[in-house]
Symmetry: C2
Subunit: 235 residues, 2 copies
């Protein structure tokens, strides 16, 4: 391919992408998908999945490609998080990393495959993370903060749950992410008043004792319509 003009810089910086992939289940809480590094530096350490951006692909394409190559998981949510570019964040050379925030739904929370690029990939509870390579702990902290603040005004929380869920699961999710007790009755009143959940004529499969709850589903179409008309919520 030909370019009309030359870019006049002798810059020696590489650009990479990294993904903070969240999973969630009601009993174990929030978890994170990590890979074990096969090569130096930080060989054997756990790290975020990611890698270098190819010349012809977009940043989003780079993240999804790397995730597929390194972990094989299917993500259902992706957004850009922050770009980390301190000159010394990689010991090899200057690497600027565009980090992404991703979610794998509870039902799709299958075991990750180990592939050629990473010697191992596994889920870790966010409260029990191992030491991470590079500045990846900082990236993870930024992502957790983003998730915690974003669920308060955006339905991103529904991406963590199965498409059909009993109300108590939603309540536990918010109680855990907001890190405060949630009154079941007031919470349900508030959420239902938003008009973005469909009440299904199905009951949750029994798990242990107690009355099984009715199932609900997030109605994204309805949500998007409301947003177009200026709707927004705060929890």
């Amino acid at each position: 391919m030909f370019y009309l003009y030359r870019v006049k810089t002798t810059q020696n910086i590489k650009i990479a992408v990294d993904a903070v992939v969240f999973g969630y289940d009601t009993s174990n809480g929030l978890s994170l998908l990590l890979i074990r590094r096969k090569f130096d530096p930080y060989q054997g350490s756990w790290a975020l999945p990611g890698g270098f951006v190819l010349d012809a692909e977009s940043l989003e394409e780079a993240v999804t490609r790397e995730l597929k190559e390194e972990t094989g998981v299917h993500i259902n949510y992706l957004e850009q998080l922050y770009t980390f570019g301190s000159p010394k964040r990689d010991p090899r050379q200057r690497i600027v990393s565009v980090s992404y925030f991703a979610i794998v739904r509870e039902s799709a929370h299958q075991e990750p495959e180990a592939t050629t690029d990473a010697s191992d990939a596994a889920w870790f509870n966010v409260t029990e993370l191992p030491n991470l390579a590079f500045d990846h702990q900082t990236i993870v902290n930024t992502a957790i903060e983003r998730l915690r603040s974003k669920v308060r005004y955006n339905p991103v929380g529904f991406e963590l749950l199965d498409t059909k869920f009993p109300f108590s699961d939603l309540e536990k999710l918010y109680s855990s992410l907001l890190d405060r007790p949630v009154d079941r009755r007031n919470f349900k009143k508030k959420i239902m008043s938003l008009g973005i959940l469909d009440e299904l004529n199905e009951k949750a499969p029994h798990k242990g004792a107690g009355r099984p709850g009715r199932l609900y589903r997030f109605n994204r179409k309805r949500y998007d319509e409301l947003v177009r008309d200026g709707f927004h919520f705060e929890l």
Copy 2:
């Protein structure tokens, strides 16, 4: 300098930074600092100030350096906005741009200097922007959206005003950014109840008719203390 390990990629991507610099004054509203491009591509077009990142500087250092070189203005607020990386956003070659969001306070809203890097630099009202080079209009839109949503829960709005301001200026700022009428009395009650403004024993200099208002000042120290204790607000 020596590196222990080689980075195995033949990536041909350059990394740049761009800044969306906001100014504001009560009579003219929100304005934006643009530069006129001296070289192709888009020679003569207006564009965001910015440029390539040097190997040894951080991204923030790159932005402030470029702003100084190209416009000479002194900014009092800077935060990362978003990273734009579509393969075709620059006709010369692949360039990933980390964009920043910056503010120049009303009092420091001096005329920008034209310098060597840019043939011209000027303030434009956000409602009367010229055609912009590259994907800079998209970046500007993202920044305006960020500003509009952020003033609702963050004191970033005070960065736009002079350090001492009459309450009516704050009211006009919010009314303009939130794009809705604001009841003077309720707005003042709400803001004062937050406890983050100091009421000064000074009156605003007279501008035209009407009773001059008392001056107020944002107390950042107090705000930071409150935030440490879990404080947050919504307007």
